[in-house]
Symmetry: C2
DNA sequence: AAGGAGAGTTGATACGTTACAATCGACTGC
DNA sequence: GCAGTCGATTGTAACGTATCAACTCTCCTT
């Protein structure tokens, strides 16, 4: 009675039709257009399905013309907590439309990206959400032209005609810097990562913008220091460098939370108080920064919402009147202990005091 | 020239065949059995494919009998860092076989689980890795019988004939407790979560086993305290309870790291020193516990390996001589500052001193 | 009472691919 | 030179479903 050979116990619509005493067309109608079928036949067919344990073959359905259920998500690494939250947002939106999500970690390897993109196309995916590994986006446009909608994740682009959803990193940098400026800081170290990463560049740019908005000169207020790695221990050497400065900063703005954590540890180890001697701002609001000894002020990204919005854009691609859109989501400043409560400092007064505290403590350690 | 109506610019093997001047069978052979095709024709066909931008239709291929590319992963919540690492292990193993992973978060809602399981079956998934939401596993066995292999994740079960990969939580609890016992602790609080969760029960059981192995009585050494929630702030009330005890513990063993973090904070806030006055052991080794003020001793689970192994089991299901296996992976103790270095304590000497330190500090706070 | 409308149902076809059996040459061994 | 062999290629029949035009009834209209 079973039809397929690969799945020994799997029945087809034909089996159901025979058992219910109807045609296969009616069985199909029960599944796809129940409104045209009498309630009575509907029940009869449903009963037959249940009795046989019928599961419909999506491959066949899809071949005949309907859409696939799945949406591809091509990212750097699902293991990364940032993408994880984004992925969850995507999944929830896609589930609303009865779909599911295929996860693809590229590890920033072009061949893996290419391989996954191809598989998703072959599979007839409903669409692909992608954080591109490279700057080039031509191949993505090509894929979209070929019928598989593409939405850029966390990467807006004016040069490309695709939908995109991203978080405004310039704005995030601006928020963080404005906060520090508001607290009176006039000399701020910017602990940055590799300038090949867009986020690093944008956040730095935002900080400069905030400084200018305060009527100050970025070149005087912001001093750049480079992390040796984007992880926590990448901050250590950078902090060490501070001692060489004649006019040390009173605050450190870090391009991500891990670096901020490392900076915090490095400072505490040198006997400095945070935020009294040095304020710290992070970026990302990863879960635990509220739990560490000095809870971190940081910039929170609407990660879940980013995913949800991106998926929403993707699912709207099918609509006939669709026009590509680029959505920019806004980050949010989360103030915690590492920057202390607002207090005015004169540009050269308290700030210098804090500076000398650093200098002496660094001397003491070395 | 294009054949499909859904994808306007999509060509079929027929188009490729025509352009290359061969039959469709040859085109198919080039893709699936290149060894039977001349190098010359192979090139010609490949050129035609490239020129047309041909992408093969997996739905059709699958319908004709071949396997789907994707493996389903049905878990509680992809957002959870534990699953995230597991997922990555799965993805890597599946990718080795040229597949990809479909992610499904059930949020422990039975209907969502059922819906996803059905979709995966319909889609003809290569198999499903699942952390079951409920105790009942009959429906999973049924699915496996119907031809979609199932592997239980982080949940062994003797009553069910399925493959399974899990981490030995009993052993993990034993490791942690044995470590504390080895340091001389003779009164250990076990900060537990809801007993409806298998992990909580198993870890507690492992602790008891370690105590017995040391020739002691679990009822005297272990004292159970219940967290009000499985998150960090769930520890606070539990710590508060300690003050009421005539004979306070010298160590706290927590069922997960978040609770341990909360416990640490609660203790520090009361002026206690960790580990001098009270040792703490966590469980999970989530990323940041090495970064907090007192780095946490904890039990690390081989998460990635769990995923990798489970996927490996799944992919081996297809082999004709397959027999279901239940793999139990071993956790690992990671010793950090929160338990200090080994030091002998007499059962009633130093331990009591630590105990009284707690008692007085608790008096001072309240 | 004849005709028509409309609601349910159905037979047949196409979707794109695969793999089997069949075909076609060319070449080997005798 | 001929039967036999082997390698390369091809025609074709599925796979399970969705859709459309066609068909059958029933019931209403005139």
């Amino acid at each position: 009675m079973a039809s397929s050979s690969t799945h020994p116990l799997r029945h087809s619509v034909r089996d159901v039709a025979r058992l219910a005493g109807v045609s296969v067309a009616t069985v199909s109608n029960v599944m796809n257009r129940p409104d045209v079928v009498t309630a009575a036949t509907q029940q009869r067919v449903q009963a037959a399905m249940d009795q046989l344990g019928f599961v419909r073959n999506r491959a066949a359905a899809q071949l005949r013309g309907s859409q696939s259920l799945s949406v591809g998500v091509v990212v750097l690494d699902v293991g990364n907590p940032f993408f994880t939250d984004v992925a969850r947002g995507i999944e929830d939106r896609v589930a609303e439309d009865g779909g599911m999500v295929s996860i693809c970690s590229t590890d920033e390897i072009m061949e893996k990206e290419a391989r996954y993109l191809r598989m998703l196309q072959e599979q007839g995916a409903r669409g692909i959400l992608v954080i591109p590994a490279a700057a080039k986006l031509r191949h993505l446009e090509e894929i979209a032209r070929r019928g598989t909608p593409i939405v850029l994740l966390d990467r807006a682009s004016r040069s490309v005609d695709l939908c995109a959803a991203a978080v405004d990193d310039v704005r995030g940098g601006e928020l963080a810097a404005a906060h520090l400026l508001g607290l009176g800081h006039r000399r701020i170290a910017f602990l940055n990562g590799p300038s090949s990463i867009r986020q690093c560049v944008d956040r730095r740019r935002g900080a400069a913008r905030a400084v200018r908005a305060a009527g100050l000169d970025p070149d005087e207020v912001l001093v750049d220091i480079q992390a040796s790695s984007p992880k926590a221990d990448g901050a250590e050497p950078a902090i060490e460098v501070l001692r060489e400065w004649p006019q040390p900063p009173t605050a450190i703005m870090c391009v991500n939370d891990l670096l901020a954590t490392g900076a915090l540890r490095a400072l505490l180890r040198r006997g400095l108080r945070v935020p009294a001697d040095m304020a710290i701002v992070g970026y990302d609001d990863i879960e635990f920064v509220s739990l560490i000894s000095v809870p971190l002020t940081t910039v929170r990204q609407p990660k879940y919402q980013l995913g949800y919005t991106a998926a929403d854009l993707l699912l709207s691609e099918t609509q006939p009147d669709h026009r590509h859109r680029q959505v920019l989501l806004q980050p949010e400043l989360v103030v915690r202990a590492s920057t202390g409560i607002a207090q005015r400092r004169s540009a050269s007064g308290d700030a210098d005091m804090a500076g000398s505290a650093l200098a002496s403590s660094l001397d003491g350690v070395s």
